[in-house]
Symmetry: C2
Subunit: 231 residues, 2 copies
DNA sequence: TATGTTTGAGGACATATGTCCTTTCCTAAA
DNA sequence: TTTAGGAAAGGACATATGTCCTCAAACATA
C-alpha cells in the first residue's frame, strides 16, 4: 500500500540529484511517497490533484477503452513526471498508472504548484522538457505499434516485465495482471499471444513454468524486439 | 511555393485574435508566410530553426520509417504550432509537414525565441498548453489506430482530404500524393486500400472517377469513421 | 494509327490475428 | 478424497491484411 516516507533530507537529495526545478517556496509542500508493486498511483477518470515525480522504481501506464480493452501505453523509469499533462490541462486523470516494482515518488498538490510555480520560468521549462520528451517517446511507440507485429511487441513486453523480477519469471498473479491481462496490455488477443509464446518456447527464448513464463534467453528476445518501446 | 506576405497589420490581427503569447520584443521578428497546397513546411531530418504558428488552412503531418513506409500522423488546423517540440528539445525536424490547402503561418526564428521568450512565463505557458494538447490528441489517435481496422481509418482519411476540395474529389495528382501514397498514409498496403475502396463503392459512399475518388455520402463515411482522428 | 510504357485495379494466395469452443489442469470447498 | 468451478492451453475456423502477379486502361511517342 502507498505510504508517506518522512525523510525530508532524502527528498531534498532526490531533488538536487535530478535537478528538479522546484522553487524554495514549494519545498515545504513536497511529500515523498512509496508504492509497493501492484499499487495504483492514479486511475483513469479520477480527478487529478497531485503531480508526482518518479524518482525510484518503475511504473506502467495503461488505458482502458470504452469497449473494455486494456492497452499498455508505456513503462516509465526515473526521471519522469506523472500527472503533468493533467495539471496543465486541468483535466481528469487520462491513464492508469501502476507500480511495477517498489516505487518512490515526490508528490505535490496542484494547489501549491498553481500558487508558487505557475509563473516560474524554471519550473515551466522543466515541465516543457519533460512533456516534449514524453511526446517524443509516445510518437516512437505509436510508430512501433503500427509498424511491427505482435511478435515484436510481445518480446518487448517480456523484456520489460522481467526487468525487476529476480527470477525472470512472469507470474500469473503478477500485480493485478494475470497472463490474460498481459495480452490486452500489448493490444492483442489472449489466443494470439499464446500462439506467439508457443513459438518463443520452440525457439528456446522462454519456458513455461507453473502459472507463468520464464525468460531464459534475453538476447534472443532482444533480437526480435529491436528498439524496445516499453522501456 | 512558399512566400512571405508583407502585411504586418494582418499578422498583428492574427496574434490578437488567437491570443498568441508573443511578447512585444518579438513582434519585429515575426513573419507571415503563405504556402500553397502541396508545399512542404518542413521535412523530417532537416535542421529545425523556425517555429511556425498555423493561423489559416490545413496541414498534414507524416513520418517516413527506416523501411521507407510513410505513416500519417495527423492533420492540423488553426490554432496549432509547428516545430514546438523541436524548439524545446533542440533536435532536428521529427516529421514532415505538408500544406493540404493554401496555408498561412506566422514564422519566427529560434534565435529570437531564445533571446526574448525563453524566460517569458506567458510564452512558456502558451507552449505548454499547445504541447499538452498535442500530446492528448496523439494519445487518442494512437489508441484509434491500434483499436480500429483499416476500414475505419480510411473513411476517416477520405473525410479529411475531401474537406477543402470544392469537388470532393481525391485526385491522383493531389499534392505530391498519388492514390498510391494515400495507402501508406493510413498505414496499410495499396492493395488492401483498394479492397476497402471497392467495398465503399458497393455501399455507395464513394465513386471512382477518372484518376481519383469522389465522396458522395459523407454521412455514410462518418458513420464508419466514428470520432475522426485525422481531423 | 501503331506500339511500347506506365499506372491502376483486381485475382490468387500467404500470413497475421481474432473468435469461439473444447480439453486439460489446478484449486478449493464439501 | 471427490467434485464443481475456474483458469490456462490449444484446436478449428473466420476475418483482416500483405505480397506477388496479371490484365487492362491510359498515355506517350514514333
Amino acid at each position: 500500500m502507498m505510504r508517506e516516507i518522512h525523510d525530508h533530507e532524502m527528498l531534498i537529495r532526490f531533488i538536487k540529484e535530478n535537478n528538479i526545478a522546484f522553487s524554495e517556496e514549494l519545498l515545504p509542500h513536497l511529500h515523498l511517497y512509496r508504492f509497493d508493486q501492484g499499487d495504483l498511483i492514479c486511475s483513469q477518470g479520477d480527478p487529478a490533484d497531485m503531480l508526482y515525480v518518479l524518482v525510484k522504481g518503475k511504473v506502467k501506464v495503461f488505458t482502458t477503452s470504452p469497449e473494455g480493452r486494456t492497452l499498455i501505453l508505456s513503462f516509465k523509469k526515473p526521471l519522469e513526471v506523472i500527472g503533468d499533462i493533467e495539471y496543465v490541462r486541468g483535466t481528469e486523470t487520462m491513464n492508469t498508472v501502476e507500480a511495477v516494482s517498489r516505487v518512490e515518488m515526490i508528490g505535490v498538490h496542484h494547489r501549491w504548484l498553481k500558487k508558487y510555480a505557475a509563473a516560474d520560468p524554471a519550473f515551466l521549462e522543466f515541465l516543457l522538457h519533460i512533456i516534449t520528451n514524453k511526446f517524443y517517446v509516445k510518437s516512437n511507440s505509436m510508430q512501433f505499434n503500427l509498424l511491427y507485429p505482435v511478435e515484436v511487441r510481445l518480446a518487448s513486453y517480456l523484456l520489460s516485465v522481467s526487468y525487476d523480477s529476480s527470477s525472470n519469471v512472469l507470474k500469473k498473479q503478477h500485480s493485478s495482471a494475470s497472463l490474460r491481462d498481459a495480452a490486452n496490455l500489448i493490444g492483442t488477443s489472449y489466443r494470439h499471444m499464446n500462439r506467439v509464446l508457443q513459438q518463443f518456447c520452440a525457439n528456446g527464448f522462454i519456458e513455461r513454468v507453473s502459472g507463468g513464463i520464464m525468460v531464459i534467453d534475453r538476447a534472443g528476445l532482444t533480437a526480435i524486439a529491436g528498439n524496445n518501446i516499453y522501456e
